[in-house]
Symmetry: C2
Subunit: 122 residues, 2 copies
DNA sequence: TCATTATTTCAATATTCATTGAGATATTGA
DNA sequence: TCAATATCTCAATGAATATTGAAATAATGA
């Protein structure tokens, strides 16, 4: 997903709040199965109302998505949206300046090679 | 530069505002030589006071830096800080999920190979 | 249908953030 | 030292965001 500036602004705004940043990290770790709203709220120590507010914010920003599963609403990371944001940042910040992108590129081989991916997720 | 969560929060907050995001993009394009505060303010259509406020915000967040040069204050992109943020995002969002990092990795070869780097910067 | 559980919505309040204009500071050249 | 330039700082105002608790909605099982 290729982000334009207004979407990127929303995404940065969504990630600029402690509770929400924690939520995203938790949901990324949780993987595609996701977690119920209640469990997320508990994990980040937020009231149900506050959790709902922040989850809605993240969903509007395209960083997570939700589905109902019986009584629960399950949220999960939107990997397309997240990678879109990384791309936006890299395109912006590379624009002819490899010194920004190259260290980041190293992360890919560091965390995403089959051997280390599972170790890093633990 | 390896960012921890509080620094990343600051950086995301700094980039979540239209004027500031534009400033960063302009400064990245400007390269290490940077630009005077006045020129930046003009480029993003902000009053001197407003420009000063946002530039200070970005500097506090570690995304740009400044030096005095005669009467002017020259701001320039902090490439270490920026790549630190990309790394943070990738580490967070990779954690075992290569689908986030791999598309971003493609950007590196897309924009940072010598041939395309200059074309992309135009 | 009723009680229970999970979550959201709403209104009120508090907090944080952005913009403005006036004035302060630093640097330079005459 | 004075006037001009470039930028910053400050206080006031307005706008956007976060938090809270209470009430509304949705789904389930008895």
């Amino acid at each position: 997903m290729k982000l334009e500036e207004p979407q990127a602004l929303n995404a940065f705004g969504a990630l600029s709040q402690e509770t929400r940043l924690k939520m995203v990290r938790i949901l990324v770790q949780a993987g595609p199965e996701g977690m119920a709203a209640g469990a997320i709220g508990e994990a980040v120590d937020a009231s149900s109302s506050s959790a709902s507010f922040h989850l809605a914010h993240l969903e509007r920003a395209g960083l997570i998505q939700s589905r109902r599963e019986s009584r629960s609403i399950i949220y999960s990371a939107n990997f397309e949206g997240l990678s879109g944001l990384v791309e936006f940042l890299m395109r912006d910040c590379c624009s002819g300046h490899p010194e920004v992108c190259l260290p980041a590129a190293a992360v890919v081989s560091d965390c995403c090679t089959p051997a280390k991916a599972s170790a890093g997720a633990a």
